[in-house]
């Protein structure tokens, strides 16, 4: 009789008596149903392969030690139960990941910090920049030009002097007057430019 027609119970007996090919037949016969059963529970191919392998290792160990298996003709339900128990054990173990809750003494956020500025800081910063740009608009044109080139365009005084066609000292002087005038406007209008 071809191996594919032999009932499970007989194949198990043949395997226990030393016929390794009987195990190959059993695996071939039930691999699809068992694998799909495992996959339906875990939803991951690699994990399903691991469980499939562990299930048959358990089957091999049990049959070779000649104990526990006495369910004649019920090979598939038996291996499915083994797989199911392995899956339940796995998820039970993985559920026990320690959870950290905040207490009065310790907060996890004292260790983990968010480096991004908060929405409040961003809004205040935008407001300051907006106020400052309005004050700068009040400055005389030559002073405003030097200040913008220096701070907003990040140019050196030498470059500013070359572009504006003035001496370095004139640029430095205009910058000094620009800063003094800004202070005056801020004090006069009692503007606060700090967060």
């Amino acid at each position: 009789m071809a191996k594919s027609q032999i009932p499970d119970a007989l194949l198990v007996q043949m395997y226990v008596s030393g016929d390794e090919a009987a195990l190959a037949t059993l695996i071939k016969r039930h691999q699809a149903r068992l694998y799909n059963f495992i996959y339906s529970k875990v939803g991951d191919r690699d994990l399903a392969d691991d469980f499939f392998q562990d299930t048959f290792i358990k089957v091999v160990n049990t049959l070779k030690s000649g104990s526990f298996y006495n369910e004649k003709g019920k090979f598939l339900p038996w291996i499915m139960r083994i797989a199911s128990n392995l899956i339940v054990d796995y998820f039970r173990k993985n559920k026990n990941i320690k959870m950290q809750r905040d207490t009065d003494e310790f907060s996890i956020f004292s260790i983990i910090k968010d480096s991004e500025p908060g929405i409040e800081t961003v809004m205040i910063s935008n407001q300051i920049n907006f106020d400052l740009s309005k004050i700068i608009e009040e400055l005389p044109e030559d002073q405003k030009q030097v200040l913008i080139m220096r701070y907003y365009n990040d140019m050196s005084f030498k470059e500013i002097a070359e572009i504006t066609g003035t001496s370095l000292n004139t640029c430095l002087g205009r910058m000094r007057y620009a800063i003094q005038n800004l202070r005056k406007i801020i004090e006069k209008n009692q503007i606060s430019l700090t967060a």
């Binding site: 695996i27 699809a32 160990n61 030690s65």
Partner: protein, 47 residues
Amino acid sequence: MAKLYSDRKLATKKLLPKKETIQFILQYSKALRVVKVGNLNFETIAN
């Protein structure tokens, strides 16, 4: 008569374990030897 627009359910492909997995189980089975001494089982795996 109203038309039915529901899609025909696609047949799901049967999944099978990797060939390596089955090969490993068969090799493991060949290599494993269990010796019973009294109440004890001694397992040996041949390289």
